[in-house]
Amino acid sequence: MLFKFLISSDVKSSEITPERIYHNRREFIQAGVGFGAVAALGFNIPQAGAETTALKNIIRDGIYDTEEKMTSLRVVSSYNNFYEFGTEKDDPFRNAHSLRPRPWTVKVDGHVENPGNYDLDDLISPHALQERIYRMRCVEAWSMVIPWVGIPLAEIINKLGPTSKAKYIRFETLYDKKQMPGQYRRVIPWPYVEGLRMDEAMNPLTLMAVGLYGETLPNQNGAPLRLVVPWKYGFKGIKSIVRISFVERMPRNSWKIIAPREYGFYANVNPDVDHLRWTQASERRIGEFRRRKTLMFNGYAEEVAHLYSGMNLKKNF
């Protein structure tokens, strides 16, 4: 808890607006220097994630961006569900410094023409980075607006060349207790697994993110590579991906394994289908007092509703 006060004395949070961090790097760097100074005093203070570096040549075409007010970087990187680093919301921020996001290898296997172990850079750098300002709706009924940086998953898939047998894509998070101390406790049957139907994976909204706010991903946000599927609940956005498999049958995703009555495979944001223990009709945008109405497909119905035409979404939740 000590470091909270040290941070707040460096740069008062009221002085930081997301836009200013974003557009005035100097202030952001000063905040970073504050961290460094504290660490240098020899206290055992975890650094907020590890350092991030600026990403270059980001395309900002804004086609899919929401105009809503962005959630500050500070909040996006300190309020996380990432059970690999602990089950409290601020655990990832405090514990994720042990993750080593570089070098990073991603194993590609299954029904695909180009399987193998890919270095992260080989997977990403052939493609132009794009910024996408998306709404993020957690299954726990809170939401944020986050400027991700990444590449459409479709571009990676096209390069890997799935065969006609590949109906689904399956992702796995790193399983390494030393880097992810939360895995010492078996809260989830590690490693964390998520998946998408191939047409969902190919949708232009689906992003493989490597950064946010113009910098590489903080560890607690799933460095160095994570999935972002804005019309689905946040838990579909699997973090720190080490394996991508092209499979014939629907993957068994972690939360569905743990509580199949509460979490489905599709996990589309849907105000009409309640969670067993709370309503999904409304949500709290972080930083706002009153709840707001949850939108069908998190407001992305125009882009994705056609994927589910004719499907019973109450059954396939």
Partner: protein, 206 residues
Amino acid sequence: MSLSQVKVIIHFLAMLPALWLLWQGWLFYDFQDNALTANPIKYIHHFTGNSAIRFVLIGLAITPGRKIFGWNKLIKFRRMMGLYAFFYAMLHFINFIVLDYFFDWATITQEIIKRPAITTGMIAAVILLLLAITSTRGWVRRMGKGWIRLHRLAYVIGLFVVTHNLVMVKADLLVPMIHTIIFALLIGYRLAAWASFFYNRKRKNA
């Protein structure tokens, strides 16, 4: 130290969670947005809920504490612990009604009725209210033996709050499990005491 001095100290300790919450609320108001986390309402909800459960458990621990350690004076604090459980449960409830759903009664009623996980907490809160109202000397006198019977509902409260706690948590059951185990031990102690009481009586009669 006199009893009233001890009571002042116990009051202070029992108020600490609430004071801490107020202080964090002040920090939050002062734009230190790490206080109360980015989602203060959820944080307050968990914090007040956990505080309420712990005072229920402390209240249920008074009798075993008296018997095991021979500290008969502990009984002087039982009502106080019950009332603090009620106090934190009310903060928890008010947070749910006011901050979380902001008097959206349609949703609130639906949530309470439709979701067993919330219903269990609600039932416990209603019983707590009943016991809090009847906790005064006047009620004890007026109700006579009925008062003891009514206040045995404290065990039901215990059962409902640990259940509520267990089913509301998403995956990490560590803390609710600790609450449940403590509750089970406190109930187990009573069952063992009753069993030995009847066993001894039988032997005496034989």
